[in-house]
């Protein structure tokens, strides 16, 4: 199954590797600035709020809200992302937003609502890569 995964996969860089390593361990590790205190995403060596290099990694709760979404109807070339699927922007409870997929709900615009609470799940799509996905929080 894992070998059949054909959708695009990330190639981590030194500044993002702790994030991807965290997912593999089923933890959502993101960064915050020790100077201005803001959490941020995507991973980078400088705080996008104040350009400080004094930043640290921490483990986020994995809870958040659906900020916005799209339902993709046109099938991609690569399995296993089967259309229709939900492209989601999740606002983590720590503040930053990240793109993901919303799963565990029918891909129906009448059922999906901005601001609905969501929680992370970890998809081990290959031996090397785990992707974050979110489902409605009960």
């Amino acid at each position: 199954m894992a070998d059949e995964y054909k959708a695009p996969l990330p190639n981590p860089t030194p500044d993002s590797k702790p994030f991807w390593d965290g997912l593999k361990a089923h933890e959502l590790r993101i960064q915050r600035c020790k100077d201005c205190g803001d959490a941020y995403f995507y991973p980078r060596d400088v705080c996008p709020g104040c350009l400080s290099g004094n930043v640290e990694w921490f483990t986020a709760s994995g809870r958040g809200k659906l900020h916005t979404f799209s339902i993709v109807y046109r099938p991609l070339k690569y399995p296993p992302l089967q259309a229709p699927y939900v492209l989601a922007m999740v606002e983590l409870e720590e503040g930053p937003r990240m793109m993901s997929n919303l799963v565990g709900i029918e891909p129906d615009p009448a059922k999906i609502r901005c601001e609905m609470p969501v929680v992370i799940e970890y998809a081990d799509v290959t031996a090397e890569v785990t992707l974050p996905r979110f489902r409605p929080a009960s």
Binding site: P8, L9, N11, T13, F69, V72, Y73, L76, M89
Partner: protein, 389 residues
């Protein structure tokens, strides 16, 4: 003080040549560079200037800054390859302002050529490679084409303001009415809101007719000082105000999904530089990659209050005979969209202001605003143009 310095440059440069490639549409016999060249040759002829008069080439595509001048046989002393997406050419106009007024160049050629449909001579650079931010933080989630990403802004706009699919569809309908008056337009059959809503689903909330075309084409502008413009072939179109801004690159970094911050920044600058009032605008050329985009532009540029863009377009006032002529060439939605569509906004505005648009001519148009998106609402550029200084 910076704004005063800019305001003093209102009308200091002019577009003296504006043209597109001989044809736009599906052109499998033309490479991207050949389309740059057709646009350049036609724009220089329009201006009554020669290639040897050009001392700066501003261009972008999938090449280095040297490639277009080489293909054209021009040896410029100033090169600019700023690539911020489809609005790049509007930003190039601001760059032309800087270099002409600094004395770096006098005759500036801005070119576009793209084989967006036929993919001839387009190279193979991958901006979404797996080790880039989009490759790591968006591609694994199946972002597909631009429709899926612009959709994220549209859905949040619907959530915040109650904007409807019917309102967005009306943008496509009114724009098609303009295209029916443009013999070069690719799509010329009338459509209704119901047609838009029943066209193929692409990415919620967009159906096929909410999405721009994919075509081949090119175009170019010739820009010079207001003084030198007096001796060119056609009536000068003065650049009264310009602005550009970037607030993110990949859509997941967009600061506010329902507000186009880059457009606010670019617009504020263009309005301040020009001193033009909204009520003085006769024509709006707003990049319509998807039907939500002109709605976002109307709000960001201050034509309507935040959230009022949908109701504003809903009565069809942006179509022929309406009170707010918008995208009179038929837009990216129905005329042509080679990929980086910003050039066509400028060429159409110049032709309208010169009174060269035949059946679709906006009567007595003297002042126009052009506004484009670059990337996925990432960058914006604005230009306010007029026949009067």
């Amino acid at each position: 003080m910076a704004l005063e310095k800019l305001h003093a440059q209102r009308g200091s440069i002019a577009i003296v040549g504006a043209a597109e490639s001989d044809r736009v549409g599906k052109l499998p016999g033309k490479s991207a560079l050949a389309l740059h060249a057709e646009g350049a040759r036609n724009a220089l002829a329009d201006a009554g200037l020669k290639a040897s008069d050009v001392d700066a080439v501003l261009s972008t595509g999938r090449q280095t800054a040297n490639d277009v001048p080489e293909y054209l046989g021009i040896r410029p002393r100033y090169l600019d390859n700023t690539q911020m997406g489809g609005c790049s050419f509007i930003a190039h106009l601001q760059h032309a302002l800087g270099i002409i007024n600094a004395g770096v160049a006098e005759v500036v050629l801005i070119t576009h050529g793209e084989s967006g449909y036929s993919r001839v001579g387009m190279g193979s650079g991958d901006r979404f490679a797996p080790d880039t931010p989009p490759g790591q933080f968006e591609m694994p989630f199946g972002i597909g084409g631009p429709a899926t990403r612009y959709a994220l802004a549209a859905v949040r706009h619907m959530h915040e303001y109650g904007t409807t699919k019917e309102q967005m569809a009306q943008v496509a309908v009114a724009t098609r009415e303009w295209a029916r008056l443009n013999p070069r337009a690719m799509m010329r059959d009338p459509i209704t809101v119901a047609d838009v809503l029943s066209s193929k689903e692409i990415a919620w909330p967009f159906n096929l007719l909410d999405c721009c075309l994919v075509t081949d084409g090119g175009g170019a502008l010739v820009v010079t000082s207001a003084e030198r413009a007096q001796s060119c072939a056609k009536k000068p179109v003065y650049v009264l105000g310009t602005g550009e801004a970037s607030c993110h690159s990949i859509i997941s970094q967009m600061p506010r999904f329902h507000v186009w911050d880059a457009a606010i920044m670019a617009g504020e600058r263009a309005w301040a530089m020009s001193g033009v009032k909204h009520s003085e605008i006769d024509l709006a050329m707003f990049y319509d990659a998807f039907t939500i985009v002109p709605i976002l532009a109307l709000e960001a540029l201050g034509f309507v209050e935040p959230g009022e863009g949908g109701p504003f377009v809903a009565d069809g006032k942006t179509g022929p005979g309406g009170s707010f002529p918008m995208n009179t060439n038929g837009g990216g939605l129905s005329y042509t969209h080679s990929g980086m569509y910003g050039m066509y906004l400028l060429v159409e505005a110049v032709k309208q202001l010169r009174g060269e648009c035949g059946e679709r001519q906006v009567k007595d148009a003297t002042t126009a605003i052009c506004h484009g998106t670059g990337g996925i609402l990432s960058a914006s550029a604005t230009a306010i143009l007029s026949t009067e200084r």
